[in-house]
Amino acid sequence: MTAVGAAGVRPRPRRGWLGTLASTDHKALGAGLFTTAFGFFLAAGVLALLMRFELARPRLQLMTLHGYDELFTLHGSTMFYLFATPVALASGVYLVPLQIGAARLRWARVALAGWWMVIAGGLIMWMGFLTAQGAADVGWYSYWPLSDMPNSPGIGTDYWIVGILLAASAAILIAACVLATIVTLRAPGMTMLRLPVFTWTMVVTCLMVLTAFPALVVAMGLLLAQRQLGGVFSGASGAFDYQHLFWFFGHPVVYVVFFPFVGAIAEAIAIFSGRRWFGYRPFVLSLLLFAALSMSVWGHHMFTTSAVENRYFSLTSTALLVPAGIEYFDALATMWRGRIRFATPLLFALGFLVLFVIGGTTGIFVGSPPLDYHVTDSYFIVAHFHYTLFGGSVMGLFAAVYLWWPKVTGTLLSERLGRWHFWLTMVGMNVTFFPLFFLGWEGMPRRVADYPRSSGWETLNAVSSAGSALLLISLLVFLLNVARSLRRRVPAGPDPWGGQTLEWATSSPPPPENFPAPLPPVRSFAPLQDLREAAS
């Protein structure tokens, strides 16, 4: 079985751990990158638990102030740079070629290099913990001049910058591969307006990575130069320039780590409603509008600086409710008069809808400068972005995992454990993060390891910490489910759910060449649903 053709970069199946690390098969690569990113999620989750443990009561119990600073920096950075971005792109690497009927990923070796860079970047970033002054302690956006050498002399911060440079460059490379695949390798009949919904979300994700991440590379490159050589940033304009550069990346990234999972929940809702996704064209339009707006809202992170035109950024930020509203409309309209089956992927998708709307409406809230003046940099913001990142991205991620696990592994997960996992996550998530809205409103700033006894914040903090323990349990249930599935190997068959897109037309897991048999005709964005509807 040699698949080595004239093209040279044909997928080559390889064996063993080492083989996987060198495989240019997009499935091995996607699964590998996904697993790496999920590992970082668990690691950053451990840091989060340590923080919640420390915050459960006033005073310092577990760590020093400096230790806490390292924890929130590495938690936030790992979550964004090493977990959420890579996991979003990994989903694309694995699924996009299958969804568009392609045999491979374009420039797979470039994407493979991206995977290695994520691993290397992560190891370098975390190596900071082994240095004398500890890991980076500058926060995930490392504002200058705090992040300059005199203020943060630890070499852990330089490691952290190098780690981000690697991870950010990797994201750019991988996004280029996924986008090129979509543009050049679509099956016959698959026009751009017949791309599956998930693939469309990957198009806009890649566009945002390609436009936003270079700003991060520049910001981190300049910061490293400033720390080592000096002379890059100076004075107030230096401080503001750094913020502009960073947030030009920093806002789009939250959509980068979110859109692929909008695509995933859209597929889940469509499949388990027995209907195709409602309002495909307005949806695609709303994605493009979202991506365009996402590049023009960065100044809302700077409302309190007195150095940006607040009204402009408030306008663009508030306008986001229009495309977001379209997506909710389409999701609900897809369920409308469907035939809904409550499989675990659907539960997570519905959980996503309910939790993300909390993150979204509070986002509109902080898009209003006079409201933001109070709650920015408080626990209100921490609550807001965890509702988008955990309620949105992570819930969507689990919807994706439960939906495509049978395709990727060829085995089924337990539905019963899946339901436990879902409900524990739902409860744990709200118990952990909802109290934080009140804490922020009452005046608790973010990034503090301690709070005064006189503040009256003890109960809500204790409740939040208890919730994080529930989240830990829910995660253990998930890992148990995964382990069980891999041991029992209940065969899933090619299409256990009644899928609508091409990946369900091949075996599970798909063979190296993806589609040994001829593809079904592609006349819409849901070719298998076409066949099903024609038959009944």
């Binding site: 806490y68 600073d69 302690d137 504002y143 001049p145 705090l146 107030a236 401080a239 409603s273 209907r275 195709r276 996704w277 409602f278 309002g279 495909y280 064209r281 307005p282 309190t304 600086t305 007195s306 150095a307 009204r311 408030s314 306008l315 508030t318 229009v322 609900l332 309209a333 897809t334 369920m335 409308w336 008069r337 469907g338 035939r339 809904i340 089956r341 519905l350 809808l353 309910v354 709307v357 909390i358 409406t361 809230f365 209003s368 400068p369 006079p370 409201l371 003046y373 109070h374 940099d377 408080s378 009452e442 005046g443 700033p445 973010r446 990034r447 503090v448 390891a449 005064p452 006189s454």
Partner: protein, 226 residues
């Protein structure tokens, strides 16, 4: 900066915040509840019932409704416009720079404490890393703050006033606040921008006193400082 709707004199930022939040929060809560309700209602109403005889029901094949969706977009745009209009109005009132007619207070943030200068009264309230200073202000009088930082970015936050501003080194920002109620707020002021090691404890107290008490305090401080 003079703007439409601007009234000379300084507004109560907390009141402005509450008014605006009084619009945003109910709309937001209604949206969240509506979505949750529709999700649950649709999930229940359209659930598959395999053991039901008339489960032969076929899922609807309608998958576009451009008119409805366009109309809906119009509604969304109107909501956005309403929110923006109110936001702009309120921002015009909370955002004006120091009025120049109030009591001037120069706030200096540095790692990791605060300092309050009352230049015209020649009073300085100086904090240390271990003893936070108290910002003493007369009630119901405009306070014109100028804010600066000596090292990294800090932020001046008085939760009770629902207001904060960044203190960026090399940049002076100015704003005015009024404090309508007298009282003492232990740790009523905080640094809200992460500024390094002791950010956690970079706080100050706020004492709002009657004009007469403020005059007494001024005299006592001036006498003591002279």
């Amino acid at each position: 900066m003079r703007r439409a709707g601007y009234v000379a004199g300084v507004t109560d930022t907390r009141h402005e915040y509450d008014t605006l939040a009084g619009l945003y929060v109910p709309i937001g809560a209604a949206v969240v509840l509506l979505v949750a309700l529709l999700v649950v209602a649709f999930a229940w109403r359209y659930r598959a019932r395999p053991d039901d005889p008339d489960e032969q029901r076929r899922p609807s094949r309608i998958h576009r409704a451009p008119r409805t969706e366009a109309l809906y977009v119009l509604v969304l745009a109107c909501v956005a416009a309403l929110l923006l209009w109110r936001t702009y109005t309120v921002e015009g009132r909370t955002d004006h720079a120091a009025s120049g007619r109030g009591l001037g207070v120069l706030v200096t943030a540095s790692k990791w404490h605060w300092r309050f200068d009352y230049p015209r009264l020649r009073i300085v309230q100086r904090g240390t890393d271990d003893a936070p200073p108290t910002l003493v202000v007369p009630a119901r009088r405009t306070i014109d703050f100028t804010l600066r930082s000596l090292d990294v970015i800090h932020a001046f936050w008085i939760p009770d006033r629902r207001f904060k501003r960044d203190a960026t080194p090399g940049f002076v920002s100015s704003f005015s606040l009024v404090f309508p109620r007298t009282g003492f707020w232990r740790y009523g002021g905080e640094c809200s921008e992460y500024c390094g090691l002791r950010h956690t404890w970079m706080k100050f107290h706020v004492a709002v006193v009657s004009p007469a008490a403020f005059a007494r305090w001024t005299r006592a401080r001036q006498g003591g400082a002279a």
